[in-house]
Point group: C2
Chain length 190, copies 2
């Protein structure tokens, strides 16, 4: 009897092996060969799902985004105040617990785009823009704030914290980081 392979699971397995390879060798080091080795699969098995390295890297990046997006959507469904939901969403972008690898893949992708001079857009930035704009449309933010600057400020704080947690130079724990972000929201919310 032939072994039954769940194709979606197999693709996810390959994507996660890709994350591990990127985390160890950077994006340039993520060849289909090294990914197949990491996933304990033959080169042919990986090529069955992804024709090119670009296709594979794109899928691996999309999986990071999808996972983060799903967790964010879960937060929006909880019966909490908009401020608490916003805080929970922003904490998703800071790599405590098991989210370290996602953040590292993101950092490698960002560095890669800067090297290739393919800059000027970023999904985290778009997410913060969308979030703050929506809150402002809901009428829950202070009325005298300059929205564009507050978005730059909040985005910088979140990504700076994320980068430093990844670097291991943050001497305070998750609860205190949460407090620092809450303090910003206290300033922005009515």
């Amino acid at each position: 009897m032939p072994k039954i392979v769940n194709h979606e699971e197999r693709k996810t397995q390959i994507a996660k092996a890709t994350w591990n390879v990127i985390a160890k060798y950077g994006l340039e080091g993520a060849s289909v060969r090294s990914i197949a080795k990491e996933a304990n699969l033959s080169l042919g098995a990986v090529r069955h799902y992804f024709n090119t390295q670009e296709e594979l890297l794109e899928f691996a990046m999309q999986l990071v985004e999808e996972q983060v997006r799903e967790r964010i959507i879960e937060h929006t469904k909880r019966p909490l105040s908009l401020k608490e939901i916003t805080l929970n969403i922003l904490m998703e972008l800071v790599p405590f617990e098991n989210r370290n690898i996602e953040m590292q893949v993101w950092l490698e992708y960002v560095s890669y785009k800067i090297r290739k001079k393919e800059v000027g857009e970023d999904n985290v930035y778009s997410a913060v823009v969308q979030l703050v704009t929506k809150l402002n449309d809901e009428g829950v933010l202070q009325e005298n704030i300059f929205l564009e600057e507050e978005i730059v400020h909040l985005h910088a704080l979140i990504d700076g914290l994320a980068l430093h947690i990844l670097m291991g130079v943050v001497p305070i724990g998750e609860e205190r980081v949460r407090y620092l972000i809450r303090r910003e929201l206290d300033r922005l919310f009515k």
Copy 2:
């Protein structure tokens, strides 16, 4: 008549070629061969100054730090208030003008250390700790602040802004970024 070579200038020329190579190919791509090519020198000429790739990369990184440190020292000599001097120093860590390449080399170095799991220290973090601690010792900061948290906050904001400017996702100019940092100092200073 043999050509007279200024050895310090030659080493600096090689270090700057190293920056360009790192900015294009990342730290793993910065071989002595590619650096010699970028500097328009023979492999032997580069090896005359640097025996190993590590020696060369270390010198290139030290030159970044030295340049930043020298500019910071210049700021401390100017006859301004401690708050203005602090603001000028922090703005040195944000890559406007020609400081883009320094910041990119720093980012590649940080990503490299994270990949190698050699984390837990960072010169920018040490600089912010030193700066804020000194200001606190001078008695110019608010007395009810939790110093460790404020250092984490300021460091995150600065590096987040730096990263985003490098990524090209900051839609506001240098003067408005300066305002965002000044606002933090207004909160911290008496």
